[in-house]
Symmetry: C3
Subunit: 357 residues, 3 copies
C-alpha cells in the first residue's frame, strides 16, 4: 500500500489557478505559485486571500506572490484572482496544492476481509483492519489501518474511515462521510433497570445507528446505537472530537456540535443548530431548528427554534448576559442592602422619637 | 471466525414466551411474535410492554400483536403476558429475540497470544488482538478484534472486551464485565513533582486497577491505575462513555456515572451513587452512599450520604433551585434597590426638613 | 517480543539505596528493602518517605522498614535516608524497585514497517503496529502494539507511544515524549465555511502539529493539526486524559492541563499554566504565563500572566469566591429587600400622615 502519489504539494501558474478555480485573474498570469498561506505568514511563492476590505493593510505588507481578492477590490502590486467568495475560492486552491493523504485502492495483505463482505470498486482497506461478515462498502471508500467494521455494517461511497475506528454491527453510514481516528460508532446505549437489591439489569441495546451523507465525526467521539429503533445523524451535520451522543438521539441536517459536547438519550435536535464546546443536553429534550447554544451551556428543557442560549441551566442569551454582568456586583448589592437597613432603622427611630411614642 | 449463529431475530409463540419468561399468559397462546418494540412504533408481530396503567391509551392504539402488562391490569384485545415487573420481563424477552453479536469461541489465526498466557475454555480472541505474557483469561470471555491486553492482566469469566480496548499491565478484571470499544483500562495516573526550574518530574504510577464483577465501562472511557496501591471499581457499577477516573479513586457498588463525568485522584465514592453527565469531582473528596449529583455538578467538598446536589460549586438541590429561580430576577432586584435608595434619601430629606435641621 | 527483564520488583539494602540515591543514611545499612509504599499502607520491607514534619505521627505508627526523611529531621526507630527533597528522592527509589513495563527492542514479525521508514537503534515496534512511508523514529523509542504512524511522521529518541495511538501524517514529535493509549495526534481541525443553502464546506486542514521534548499526552486525548501552519505543544508540558486541543493552538513550556479540558482553535497559552479538569477555553484567546484556572472554568477572554481564575464565565478567584459565598444568600437578600420595601412604604405613609398631606 503506497502513499497516494499526489500526497505532496504541486506548483501552478496564476493563469492555471485562475482557470481551475473558474475565476478571472489580473496581472502576470505566468507567476508561479508553490503553496498557500495566511496574509501574515506568507512567503514568496505563496497564494493568499483577502476576505474583507478591512484586511487590505495586511495584504500590502504580505510577501505573498498572488492573492484571491473580492471582485469589487482593485489591486495591482501582485497578480490577483477575483472571486465573489474569496475564502471559498481559496479553499479550492488549497485542495489543488495539497491533496490530503489517502490510501491507494486495494486490500492490504495484512487486512482481514470476510468472504461474505461486498467490497466496491476502488476501495482501500489498510493493514490490520477487520471487515466482518456481510459488510457492504461502496465505491471509492477508504478504510485506514486498524479499523474494525463489525458484521452487517453498510457504508456508502467515497467515505473515509480513519485508523482505530470501531463501527459496530448493523450500523449504516452514507456517502462522503468522514469518521476520524478512534471514534466509536454504534456502541451500546447506557440504560439499566434497577432491581430492589440495588443491582442494575442492562436494558438490551438492540437498535441501530444511521449516519447520513456528508456527515463528519471527530476523533474519539462516541455515538451510541438505539435501545430500540435508531439513533440518527442527518445529512451534512459536523461533529467535533470527544463528543458523546447517546442512544435514540436524532440530530437534524447541517448542525454543528463542537468538541466535548454531550447529548443524552432520546433528545431531538433540529437542523442548522450550533453548539459550542462542552455543552450538555439532558435526555428527552427537544431543541428546534437554527438554535445556537454557547459553549458550556447546560440544557434540560425544550428550546424553540431560532433561540440563542447560554449558561447552565440555560437562559436566553440576553438574560444570561445581564446576570453575568450583575453577579460580580453581588457583594456591593449586599453592602447597599445593609446600609439601607440601617438607614431605615434610623428613620424609624427618628419618626418614633418625633411622634413621641 | 464466523458470526454467532444466534445473531439474528427468531420467532416465538406467546405461550412459548410465557413459559420462557415464567409468567402466565391470557388470550391466544398460538399468536406468533417476531420481534419487540415500543408501544408507539410497534407493528404486527411485535411484543410490547405496558409499564404503568397511565400508558394504557398508547396500548389501545398500538399495532403490537401481544403485550406484557402488570398482573393487576385486565386486557383482552390482544394476548397478554402478566408480570409483576413488566419492564424486566420485557428485557428478558428482548434477549430471547435478539442475541447480541458475539464472536465464536476460538483464537483467530491473525491474533497474537503469548505462549505464557493461560486462556480458559470457550474463550474467543479476535483478529489482530494481542494477548501479552502471563495473562489469564477466564472461561467464556470474549476478546473482540484489535484489543491489546498487556502482560500479567487477569480477566474473569464471561467478560466481554470490545475492539480497540487497551488493558494495561497487571490490571485485574472480574466476571461478566463489559468493556466497550476504545476504553483505556489502567493507564498511568497524572502526577508530577515540580522542580525549581519549572519542569515536572513524573511520579511513577506503579499501582494497579481492580474492576470487580458485573461492572460496565463505556466507550473511550479512561480509568487510571494507582500511583501506589489500587484504583478500585466495585461490583455492579456502570460507567458511561468518555468518563475519566483518575488514580487511586474508589467507587462503591452499583453506582452509575453518566457520560463525560470526571473523578480526580484519590476521591472515594460510595455505593448506589448516581452522577449525571459532565459532573466533575475534585481530588481527595469523599462522597457518601446513595448520593445523587445532577448533570454538570462541580464537587470539591465532601458530600454526606443520601444527599442530592447540583451546580458548580455544588449546593443542596433545594438551595440550588432557589438560586436558579432568583438569578434571572437579579436585574429587577438591582432596580428595586436603586428605587429604595432614592426613596430612603427622600425620606431622610423630608425628616430633616420637618425636624428643622 | 518478551517482557522487559526488569519488569519486576527487586530488593536492595538501605546502604545500596543510599548510594544509588546519592543521600546519606543513618541506622542499620544492611536492612533489606523489597518495595515502596505510603506511610499508612506500608508493611515490613517497605521504604516510605516523610515529606513534612507534621506527618511524623504517621511515621511513628508505620510498619515500614526504612524511611526517606528531610535532612533536618532526627529519627532512629528505623534506618533513614536523608534528603533535601524526600519526595523527589522517593520517586527515584520507586523507579529502582519497579521498572515500568516496556517492549524489548526489535520489530515484531506481525508489525508492518514501510521499507522507506528509517528506524533507529534499539527501537521496539509491537505487533499489529503500522509504520508508514518515510517515517523516522529515533534511538530507543518504543512503539507498543496496535499503533498507526502515518507517512512522513518524525519521532525523536526514547519516546514511548502506547497502544492504539494514531499519529497522523507529517506530525513531528520530540524526545522522551509519552503518548498514552488511544490518543489521536494530528487529527483534522474542525473548520467549515457555511454556504447559502446551509451546507458546510470543509476548510482543508493542511498544517501540522509539533510536540516538543518531554511532553506527556494522556489516554484518548485528541490534538488537532493546524489548518495552515502548526499546532504547537512546547517542551515539558503535561496533558491529562480526554483533553481536546484544537487546530493552531499553542501551549507554552511546562504547562499542566488536567483531564477533559478543551482548548478551542488558535488560542495561545503561556508557560507554567495550570488548568484544572473540565476547563474550557474559547478560540483566539490569549492566556499569559503562570496562570491558574480552577476546574470547570469557562474562559472566553484574554487572561494576563499570574492570574488565578475560576467560574464560567471566569472571574478573578477572589471575586468568584465572594459570589459563591453570596449566591446561597440570594433568597434571604430577596426577603430583606421585600421587608425594606414594606418598611419604607410604612415610613412614607407615616410621614405623609404626620405632615398632614
Amino acid at each position: 500500500m503506497k502513499k497516494s502519489p499526489d500526497f505532496a504539494s504541486s506548483s501552478l501558474k496564476v493563469k492555471e489557478l485562475s482557470r481551475l478555480l473558474g475565476c478571472p485573474f489580473e496581472g502576470d498570469g505566468g507567476t508561479m505559485i508553490h503553496g498557500v498561506s495566511s496574509l501574515e505568514k506568507a512567503k514568496e511563492g505563496d497564494l493568499v486571500f483577502l476576505a474583507l476590505h478591512k484586511f487590505r493593510p495586511l495584504l500590502e505588507k504580505s510577501r505573498a506572490s498572488a492573492a484571491i481578492i473580492p471582485v469589487e477590490e482593485k489591486y495591482d502590486r501582485i497578480p490577483v484572482i477575483k472571486s465573489k467568495n474569496p475564502y471559498l475560492a481559496f479553499i479550492k486552491a488549497v485542495e489543488l496544492f495539497f491533496k490530503p493523504y489517502r490510501l491507494e485502492p486495494g486490500i492490504h495483505p495484512q487486512a482481514f476481509v470476510s468472504p461474505s463482505a461486498k467490497i466496491g470498486k476502488n476501495v482501500a482497506v489498510g493493514a490490520f483492519s477487520f471487515i466482518g461478515d456481510e459488510v457492504e462498502i461502496g465505491v471509492g471508500t477508504i478504510i485506514f489501518p486498524l479499523v474494525n467494521i463489525f458484521p452487517q455494517v453498510k457504508i456508502g461511497k467515497e467515505t473515509v474511515i480513519h485508523s482505530h475506528v470501531s463501527i459496530r454491527e448493523k450500523v449504516r453510514i452514507g456517502n462522503r462521510v468522514f469518521i476520524h481516528n478512534g471514534a466509536v460508532i454504534g456502541s451500546d446505549g447506557f440504560g439499566y433497570l434497577k432491581a430492589e437489591d440495588g443491582s442494575h439489569t442492562k436494558i438490551p441495546q438492540k437498535g441501530t445507528l444511521i449516519i447520513e451523507d456528508d456527515v463528519e465525526v471527530g476523533a474519539n467521539t462516541t455515538i451510541d446505537r438505539a435501545a430500540l429503533g435508531e439513533t440518527v445523524i442527518k445529512k451534512g451535520t459536523k461533529i467535533d472530537n470527544l463528543v458523546q451522543i447517546a442512544h435514540n438521539v436524532e440530530i437534524g441536517k447541517n448542525s454543528i456540535l463542537a468538541a466535548q459536547t454531550g447529548i443524552a438519550g432520546s433528545t431531538k435536535i433540529g437542523k442548522n443548530v450550533i453548539m459550542g464546546g462542552q455543552v450538555g443536553v439532558a435526555d428527552h429534550v427537544n431543541i428546534g431548528d437554527n438554535v445556537t447554544a454557547a459553549a458550556k451551556s447546560g440544557i434540560s428543557k425544550n428550546i424553540p427554534s431560532k433561540s440563542f442560549v447560554a449558561g447552565s441551566p440555560h437562559l436566553n442569551i440576553r438574560d444570561w448576559r445581564k446576570v453575568q454582568v450583575l453577579l460580580p456586583q453581588l457583594y456591593d448589592l449586599v453592602k447597599d442592602i445593609k446600609k439601607l437597613k440601617k438607614k431605615v432603622e434610623e428613620l424609624e427611630n427618628k419618626i418614633k422619637g418625633s411622634s413621641g411614642v
